[in-house]
């Protein structure tokens, strides 16, 4: 594999990282039956807070933690409104999308500019020496490795632990989970906040690593919606969500490569519109049942293991309330 290709793949992995983290966060939340629609706003607000906190304190760690707290607090608000006050989660999420975006712009108005601090690259010993693979996957700032660990940890948690079973149960069949002694609403609080904190981490991943600095308007505007669509495309399965995020980043990389290549004359509008057309297309794959059909033509032995990976139904109790009394 030549160096140029390796570089492209390396940057795809890097650029996809915030989408990976945000997508995983939203997957956790939605698997517990709560929709956090505010991603496009909460990513911006936590990105801004993370950037400012890191700049003021001089510590990147403080920046990432601040962003996670902001993301977690926004999610807490959605949980209180949706669970305690029985408001429509989509409505609250939409209001917060707009509110957080405007707040980020207003509070960040005096902090626009490049970053003095950004995550350094870390070569993982041994792993980064593997030919090709090492250069693509293990030659990144530490946030990328955190995203790898999150992928594995969340998948293992959801599908191979007892608490993970309860996690999925409160999103699928809250009544049944309740009957088995699970405190449904308490778990929903926990997973909404944890998911929101990851969304916040994704925000800081932009301003402290992938797109260092804060601009007005912010450059990652719109990515929150993409992350939400990726969760649907990913069928609420961590692996597929992550695959979706990498696919998106790859297609973006192709688009921007074509854009730079002056010999190919494609209208700019088409290239810039590509993420959105792609979003529709990926959702179409799910909604038209194309994936289900793929599942049905598979050999029977494969179907069982593939079902988890290819299912495209949302958690059955997504966005609904649960009243124990």
């Amino acid at each position: 594999m030549d160096d140029q290709l390796i570089n492209i793949f390396n940057s795809i992995i890097f650029n996809a990282t915030p989408l990976v983290i945000a997508g995983l966060g939203e997957t956790i939340t939605e698997r517990a039956g709560v929709v956090n629609l505010s991603l496009d706003g909460s990513i911006l607000l936590s990105a801004m807070f993370g950037f400012v906190a890191a700049g003021v304190s001089g510590s990147l760690l403080v920046g990432f933690i601040a962003a996670m707290i902001v993301g977690g607090l926004i999610a807490l608000l959605i949980a209180v409104a949706g669970i305690e006050l029985r408001q429509d989660q989509v409505a609250i999420g939409f209001v917060l999308t707009l509110l957080c975006a405007d707040l980020a712009q207003f509070l960040g108005q005096d902090y626009t500019g490049g970053s003095s601090v950004s995550l350094p690259e870390v070569h993982v010993p041994i792993l980064s020496d593997i030919p090709v693979i090492g250069a693509i996957f293990f030659d990144h700032p530490v946030i990328v490795y955190i995203s790898y660990m999150l992928i594995i940890a969340i998948w293992f948690w959801m599908f191979h632990t007892r608490p993970g079973l309860a996690h999925r149960a409160v999103g699928e069949r809250p009544q049944a989970a309740f009957a088995r002694g699970t405190d449904v609403n308490r778990l929903r609080y926990v997973y909404t906040i944890v998911g929101g904190a990851l969304v916040g981490l994704a925000g800081a991943a932009y301003t402290l690593s992938v797109k260092p600095g804060w601009t007005n308007p912010p450059s990652m505007r719109g990515d929150g919606w993409i992350a939400l669509a990726i969760v649907i495309f990913g069928g609420w399965h961590p692996f597929r969500v992550v695959f979706g995020a990498y696919l998106f980043a790859a297609l973006r990389a192709v688009a921007s490569t074509i854009q730079r290549d002056s010999s190919i004359d494609i209208p700019l509008v088409l290239l810039n519109g590509l993420p959105w057309l792609l979003m529709i297309f990926t959702l179409l794959l799910v909604s038209t049942g194309a994936l289900e059909r793929l599942l049905n033509i598979m050999p029977r032995a494969l179907q069982r293991s593939a079902r988890n990976l290819l299912r495209s139904d949302p958690p059955a109790a997504l966005g609904t309330r649960f009243d124990p009394d």
Binding site: D102, F106, L107, I232, V269, G273, W276
Partner: protein
């Protein structure tokens, strides 16, 4: 008696709390809340001109609100109103550019309005098609269509509709005067025609939702699409018609932005009014007159804050912060009211 007090408190508290939080945020960026609120109020009411500016925000906002009430009644989250405004603006701009020099104002305005209705309606129909035929949730369809409409504007301004002296990508060349909505007077710089259209639309929407078969079918579809279908309501047509009516109204709103506010086509011509209208309707639910009143308050905030940058070097996004906080606090108080068992059943329609 205490119940009355609590209820009254929960009615007024959201406004006070959101103002208090906004004041805190203003202090956080090192400004003086009193001066900011005063500047906003002066910006909205200091002269007849300023009031005209508020009306110039209210007209498009209330038009989109009426459209969104229709889609809300049908149980739809038409987040795509923003893009529908933009497509209306583009369609109106197309007429203004191609016929602006050759036809009189009295002919052009109706033509432009019809074009805007078609543009907005078509874009809304596309969102409806994605939802009803292809199963794509209108929130995602809407977000994507919004982005595509805005990119199309940028494409037109930088490409085929570039001003002859070379593009700054900021706007097209100004339209001919005959193509613009005439302003009432220099003291009151808003369009009387558009104001009348807006008021007529409010009345029509109230009547249509209350007393027509179409309105009843929309309500039935919105309440429970499956049982409505079983009872013989053509739910697909209902939903599509709601989308198209909303798109048509958003289109007219878009035409107002380019044919009065700007006098040319600019990127993001809708100025966030489509999203703002969704916030209004979240508070007003399907009560059209309420929506018109709340839209006026929001228009005051919008109109008043246009001066913030010049007067106090503050970002205009403060308007969105205050509006967002207001809606958030109202929704939370509404939930609290129901939680405390004070909730009167919301009258629908």
């Amino acid at each position: 008696m205490t119940k009355v007090f609590v209820r009254f408190g929960l009615g007024i508290a959201p406004i006070l709390i959101s103002l208090a939080i906004t004041a805190l945020i203003i202090i956080l960026v090192g400004a003086e809340p009193g001066a900011v609120f005063q500047s906003v109020l002066e910006g909205a009411f200091r002269s007849t001109n300023a009031v005209g500016g508020v009306i110039n925000f209210w007209i498009p906002l209330v038009l989109v609100c009426m459209g969104l009430i229709v889609t809300f009644t049908a149980g739809l989250w038409n987040i795509g109103a923003e893009g529908q405004m933009v497509m209306g603006a583009i369609a109106a701009s197309f007429i203004a550019r191609s016929l602006g020099e050759s036809l009189p104002n009295a002919v052009l305005i109706p033509l432009e309005i019809v074009a805007a209705m078609l543009g907005g309606g078509a874009w809304a129909a596309l969102a409806g098609f994605l939802k009803m035929r292809l199963g794509i949730n209108e929130i995602f369809g809407g977000v994507a269509l919004n982005a595509l409409a805005n990119l199309f504007t940028v494409h037109l301004i930088a490409g085929p509709w570039q001003p002859p002296e070379g593009g700054s990508a900021q706007s097209t060349a100004p339209f001919a005067d005959a193509a613009l909505y005439p302003r009432l007077s220099p003291e009151y710089p808003f369009s009387l025609t558009a104001l009348i259209i807006a008021v007529v639309v409010i009345v029509l929407i109230v009547l249509a939702l209350r007393g027509t078969r179409w309105g009843l079918q929309l309500k039935a579809t919105g309440k429970n699409a499956k049982s409505a279908l079983l009872l013989g309501v053509p739910t697909t047509q209902s939903v599509m018609s709601a989308f198209i009516v909303c798109g048509v109204l958003a289109g007219i709103a878009g035409s107002y932005r380019v044919l009065l506010t700007y006098g040319s086509l600019r990127p993001f011509a809708s100025g966030g009014i489509g999203f703002l209208a969704l916030l209004v309707v979240l508070v007003a639910s399907t009560r059209a007159v309420w929506a018109a009143a709340i839209a006026f308050v929001f228009a005051v905030i919008l109109g008043g804050s246009t001066r913030l940058r010049v007067a106090l070097q503050l970002d205009q996004s403060l308007a969105g912060v205050l509006q967002g906080l207001l809606v958030l606090c109202v929704l939370l108080a509404d939930g609290l009211r129901q939680r405390l068992g004070l909730g009167e059943e919301r009258a629908d329609g």
